[in-house]
Symmetry: C2
Amino acid sequence: MGYGFRTGAGRGPARPWGRRYGEGAATVSERKASGGAGRATIRDVAERAGVSVASVSRVLSGNYPVSDELRRRVMKVVRDLDYVTNAHARSLAGGGTPTVAILINNITGAAFAHVAKGVEGAASLRGWLSLVGTTGDDPERELALVNLMRQQGVAAVVLLGGAYDFDEYQLRMARFARSLDAAGSHLVLVGRPPLEGDVAATTVDYDNEGGAYAMASHLLSAGHRRVLVLPGHSELTTAQGRLRGARRAFEAYGVPFDPGMVLHGPYDYGHGYDAVEESLRRELDFTAVLAGTDVVAAGAMHALRGAGLRVPEDISIVGYDDIPLASQLTPQLTTVHVPYEEMGRAALRAVADRREGGAGRRGGGDGAHLVLGTHVVVRNSVQPPARRS
Amino acid sequence: MGYGFRTGAGRGPARPWGRRYGEGAATVSERKASGGAGRATIRDVAERAGVSVASVSRVLSGNYPVSDELRRRVMKVVRDLDYVTNAHARSLAGGGTPTVAILINNITGAAFAHVAKGVEGAASLRGWLSLVGTTGDDPERELALVNLMRQQGVAAVVLLGGAYDFDEYQLRMARFARSLDAAGSHLVLVGRPPLEGDVAATTVDYDNEGGAYAMASHLLSAGHRRVLVLPGHSELTTAQGRLRGARRAFEAYGVPFDPGMVLHGPYDYGHGYDAVEESLRRELDFTAVLAGTDVVAAGAMHALRGAGLRVPEDISIVGYDDIPLASQLTPQLTTVHVPYEEMGRAALRAVADRREGGAGRRGGGDGAHLVLGTHVVVRNSVQPPARRS
DNA sequence: TTGAAAGCGTTACCAG
DNA sequence: CTGGTAACGCTTTCAA
């Protein structure tokens, strides 16, 4: 009748917006010449196959009964035209591939790569897509990225890596969580402590402090008493946890913990190198180095060697993370294994389960918290302390 | 008049599809309760600000003059509602954020991380988005991913890493290129040789063979004559190039090249280790190892050391890629620097330029080919050959 | 089992 | 400078 869209038999207004297919309800004319500019649409397929767009949609979605004949006809045209569905249109109409966004400070970190692999692998297993964004440690960029992901309508935003424990952090993350939740998305924190309060965010963490405790214990039980500790940046939550774990181990062993032996700094090779070099210059007395990450340990090892010290004969070194580098160093590094890839998988699983399970139980409160175990991997970088002259 | 959408004053059919805002042309009623389920839409914002959706769109797009008063009103509501544009709707309507897809075999590779960083960095600089997918060396998955990316309407698909030079490869890639081109997208090959013929794909490559030539020359000019070559998989284009370069260097130096000293295998630590161990067992006579990648070199170094051989005093080793690992090994590895990050940047730049420049010059033919230089980085893993007993 | 058409949330054109 | 609204390409309901 009077209303209706794409009916009205050619009485539409002028159309200066560009091409249009099949103007008028039953009029199959003015067809776009196949192979023209731009992507083929579902209507091109429908017309060419002599069926309705609804049928094409049903064939392609595969979630609706269609006759074999119809399917055959449609699929042939799809192949001929090399047609693929427009994901944007599909999402808009309600369907669409769920997408996870992975946000990371530095894509170059080996630990990240493994988490990303876990997420990506689990995602593609379910036919999900994954987006990656890097923040470069810039909070502004992080904010911008979260918003960008929100625009994309992602099923979840996975934030990777230790967080800086500034005052603003909790507020900011809580805001992210709320925002995403309101948009039907979800925040997942991987490798950082859970948010306080009743926030709708999932946390997938590992036993950071426990790993450090075990690692330090390993050193202590080998007889080391003077150990140089390089936990990382003092405001970084992972560094704080590692330091805490080490401290607890010292207490447990009744060994006094000397704060003067703790050197904070970034999780990189250069810091490990510099810290050890400086300690040597300052003639600090230590028989072992407890590094915050394997990369820091590698740097430390380099500096030690540069000073003519042997590892582990003169000085023992341990790392944290158990990235491939750990077993590629000489000597191979004793370190704490963190199940990064498994964490990635767990993160995606959490989101997927949540999605299937409780539609409608949104609105905060169910901040799940998963903690995966860590353990010491003993290799060749630790020996009982040498009696130093 | 008779036609029209969302006009016709309430004469529309029943609407069982769900909520709808502002039924009828001027009727501002039946508003969704703010804060309800789902994302706020541009119409929520428009209604709440008492302006038209067109105005909201203009304020948010920022590409059209609007009064300060309007902007203020709209932005306030946007903040109140925590509104973000729906990227899918935006793309569908013609706007939208350009997106690059990065496809990679193994996300864990360090070389990849740097290319990805380059692409991602350059992309976000322009406000572009980047997607990452991993193929796991599976051609089927690669195909599926390219199609997925095509569905997403990505501006370009960047394929990373050496390719397996099977017969089918050229055809497959040409098909990808054509497909993407037809959809208004573009194929970029990074770190692999360009496609043959008149194919619309851009290639960003590095002087692979030249780097190998220089690296081998370095070894030869140090006096090495018997060198164990571990180029990689024999079907991998990068491995082929590296082997070719080495061979040319031998020729240039008038040193006979012994095919028996070439051991093919994957680009991983284990292969380096195994190859050297086996060579040692077979009592192959060599004074240096020319590894296909730094990781292979690391494995080789480990095996050598396990056999009681010193590097570089007894055996010299060189790598390829110059990933961070190279300078973290002991001794630090002399290797070939490949500008991975720069390649990533170049890849994105190529796509972006192409997009701005020649709209309409699609249809094959302009397969640009960029080749970036490589160079030897001399560190401490090479010494003139020891006179062996 | 199939077809017709409304609706998803934007953008950009046209008219004022 | 602002408002109205067709169109983007698809899914899904309703009707046949």
